[in-house]
Structures are given as C-alpha cells and as structure tokens.
Amino acid sequence: MTTETQVIAAQAAQAGRRGRGRGKLGRFAIRLPALVLAILLWQVVATVFDTPFFPPFLDILARFRADWLSGPPSQLFLSDAFITNALPTITRLAAGWLIGVLVGVLIGSLIARLPRVGAALEPLVRFGMSLPAPALLPLAIAFFGLDAGGKIFFIALGAVWPVIVGTAAGLRGADPVAIASARSLTLPAATLFLKVRIPLASPQIMSGLRVSVNAAVLLIIVAELYATTTGIGFMIVNSQRNFDILGTWSGIFLLALLGIVCNGLFVLVERRVMRWQIIPREAQK
C-alpha cells in the first residue's frame, strides 16, 4: 500500500517537475515528438495498406468532427449526437463515481475506526476488491434494471471498493507520531477526524480514487456496450453492427477523449490536494 502511494506521489511529482522552466508552449512541444510520429505513422500505414478496419487518422478526425462537433454555435458546436449520447454517458459516469466515492469513504472510515465492523466487513471488501468489477453487471441489472439507475448503481458498485480499501488503509496506517501530536493538542473528535486523520489518509484515499476513476470509465463503457440505446458505448456498438468502421473509430476517439479528460481533471485535483506531499518530494530530488 505504501509503495502504491509512493508511486503516485512520484508520478505526480514528475508531472510537477515537468511543469517548471521553459514557456508553456515549449514545455508542451518537447513532449510531443513520439505522439506526432505515431500519428504520422498511422496516417501513412493506413493509407498505404488500405485495410477497411484501419482507416487513415485524418479520415477518422474528419468523421469525429462530423459526428460530435458539427453543431451550431449555440450548442458550443456540439452536435445533437453528442448531446443525446455523450452527455448521458458523462452524467451517468459522474453520478455513479460520486456515489461510489461517498459510500466508499464512509464505509472505509467505519472499517478503520470500528474494529468489529471492520473485521466483519473485511472479507466482503476483499472479495469485492478482487472481483473484476464488470462481473457485477448482472447484480446491477438484478436490482435496478438496465436503465440509467442500473448503470449508475453499477458504476458506484465498481468504484466503491478501491475507495473503501484506500480510506481504511490510509486511516489505519496513519503515522502514530502525527496522531499522538494531534491528540496532545486536545482536539475534539470531529476536528481530529476531519482535519487530521482524513488529510493524513489522503494520499491513500487519492490512490483509491484514482483506481476508482479508471474503474468507473471502464464500467460505463461495459454498461453501454452491453445494453443501452444511448451513450457513447452504444454509438460504438451500433456503428460496429452496421459495419460503419469510421463511426466506430470516431466513437472510440470520443471515449479516449473522455478518458483523457477524466484523467486530466483528476491529476489537477490530485496536485491541488496532495501539494503538501508532492512539492517537498520534488524539492528533495
């Protein structure tokens, strides 16, 4: 567990280090060579070999624009397809994840702070943690059916485990010296918990959140590939069923973009919340 936190802090610190020196553009440009090369290679290989399922990059981009970004300015250029398909995906994702996080932090705290509850829930949590989350789809369908509720429940159900484990481990593993120092200040229980225990546990909570974001993105796709009639996942399946390969790629690009944006947002929040962890680390180098 500690190693995991270290990895995250190290990664975040790395991202931070990159942020120093040079102008914004210069910093950006220096990271692009491989990406540009990969895209060029894609374009050339796809054009030369002309396989139907591996279309040139630019063709996909064109289709991507047509599919998602062809709307009127009043819609911020977002197309109707974007609004009917991507928005539900995004709201389901956000709702499911948030529920998962809230419940996860709550249960994790209970487990860490109440030893008996912790002991009772531990095997179940371990099981849930090891269970490939998509296998829970039948469970979600059982309780909530296949509509939006079912999907949100499904995402929450998958996202909750790493948050529980991270919260419990973080709270339990808190540095005893830090806790003693807080106790010596005769803080009231609530302050002690919210202002000391939770921040102390935050690296591991964040590590749990990071895993849960990835799980949530995976699950929304699974849910939508499995059975829905709207959503980006559905768009991909539908274009695949129609052998509309460009359309499939265009959907995949949108999902990729969604993944990148989620990740980016997360890193932003993480850097803000874990500043006190990350910056001293950078300085130490």
Partner: protein, 262 residues
C-alpha cells in the same frame, strides 16, 4: 518549599506485546517554573514516560498528577513538542494554521486566536513567515513552528521529547537558546528529554537520570550553574565539565550494565 506542578507517583508501564515492563516504578516531581531534563540509555522508556505524563498513554500502575489533578487523557495544561517535526507538524497547513488548529475548538474569539498565533510565532522568531508551509522551511524553522504551536495553547507545562535531535549542530545551539529564552520569559515549567549530555546540563535546573527497563529513577543531579546561560561561557565553566563528566559516566555505566545483562 516550592509549588509542585507535576508529580509522577510510582509510575509503571508494560507494553502488551512486550515480555517485561518498560517502566518499573518511577517517582519524581517537578516544581513550578523548573527546567528538568530527563536522560537515560536508549530504550530506557523516556518517550514512554513522557506519553504517560502527557496523558497519551495510560500507565499500567501508579499515576501522574498535574497541578494536583490525575491525568487520564491529554490535557490542555500540557503542551508537547516531539522530536520529529516532519511527523508532528501537519504539512497540509501553513505555519499559521498549524498553530491555530488546536485553538479553534477552545471557545476563543477569532481576534484572540489571531493574537495568540502571531504572538507564539513571534516568540520563536518566525514573525512574517506565517503563510509558509512546513516543507517550505528549514528543519530548525519547522521545529520552531512546533514549539510555537505548543506555546499558543498557553500550557502550564511544556514537555519536549528530543526536540533538537533532528536538526544540525548549529541550529541546535540556536534552538537551545531560544527555548531557554521562552522558558525564562513565559515562566512555563519544562520537561526536556534529550540524548545529549551537554544539552541536558546546559539547559536544566535538574537532570533526572533513568535506569534501563524496568526503568526507575537512577539518580537526580542538581545543576547549580548560573543563569542566564551562554553557549561559550557556561560550557567553559569547570563546573559544567564536572557535571557533564558525572552524567557521561553514569549513563555509560548504565549502558554497560544493561548490555552485560542479556
């Protein structure tokens, strides 16, 4: 004679996981305004003793009275400074907020909190550094924030567990003088645990020497050196040399004795 602030009475403590008691039977008291150092071989149980005195740990036997009241939980009469500032300060809070944190729940007005915080930070020479995060400060500065945090609570007793151990030798002598200054100015009672014999002699009115576990008080040494003390003059005083030799020999004997035991 003097007004007694802390009484440690037949204190005993055993860690549940340890085979034998760490603290055997410890008995001593500290007068108001006194500066007492506690020394003893590594593993003697100095930290354990401080934890018992400050109410962080419940003793297995005996008790601790602070101003006549038995201590069962951390009390606002006692401020503690730990050795490792990097673990006792909260890195997610600025210096100012670290100091203010325990004040928030004491029914003080915002005004008064602000005054106490800036007063405490000024005492330790950190006026103007309020907005810095611990990790933006040197080790000595961080330890001073930790001291300020304890001071802001206006405790009657200040307990310090090797507060100077994690800083370099030069910062250390600065901190020693800072602590002596605060002690003299605020009239607080101080119990200082240290490994450093020179420091124990230099700082204290009395030095309590602990034995090895099950630990008891091996000896108490009165330090009659004049105050205020001075890093060069006091340490050049022949009496200082004699006191440090006595202490050095006592601890070396205790260590050798305990090393021979198992």
């Amino acid at each position: 004679m003097n007004d007694i602030v802390i009484e440690v009475q037949h204190l005993g403590f055993k860690y549940p996981s340890a085979p034998k008691p760490t603290l055997g039977d410890i008995d001593f008291s500290v007068a108001r305004g006194e500066f007492v150092s506690v020394v003893g071989p590594s593993g003697a149980g100095k930290t354990t003793l401080l934890n018992c005195i400050s109410g962080l740990t419940r003793p297995t036997s005996g008790r601790v009275l602070v101003e006549g009241e038995a201590i069962t939980a951390p009390s606002s009469k006692i401020g503690i400074v730990f050795q490792d500032y990097s673990r006792s300060l909260f890195p997610w809070l600025t210096a100012e907020k670290n100091v203010a944190l325990p004040l928030g729940s004491r029914g003080l007005s915002a005004e008064e909190i602000r005054n106490r915080v800036s007063g405490a930070l000024a005492s330790v020479g950190l006026g103007g550094q309020e907005k810095k995060y611990p990790w933006e400060m040197s080790g000595g500065m961080q330890q001073r924030v930790a001291i300020a945090r304890a001071l802001a609570l206006e405790p009657h007793v200040l307990i310090m567990d090797e507060p100077m151990a994690s800083v370099d030798a030069q910062t250390r002598s600065d901190l020693e003088d800072l602590v002596l200054g605060i002690w003299a100015e605020r009239g607080v009672t101080v119990i200082l645990v240290t490994h450093d014999i020179d420091e124990a002699v230099y700082m204290s009115d009395r030095v309590v020497i602990l034995s090895t576990p099950p630990t008891a008080v091996h000896d108490v040494m009165e330090v009659g050196l004049a105050r205020p003390r001075h890093q060069l003059e006091t340490k050049d005083d022949p009496d200082f040399g004699h006191l440090r030799s006595r202490l050095f020999t006592a601890i070396r004997e205790l260590r050798e004795f305990s090393a021979a035991k198992p």
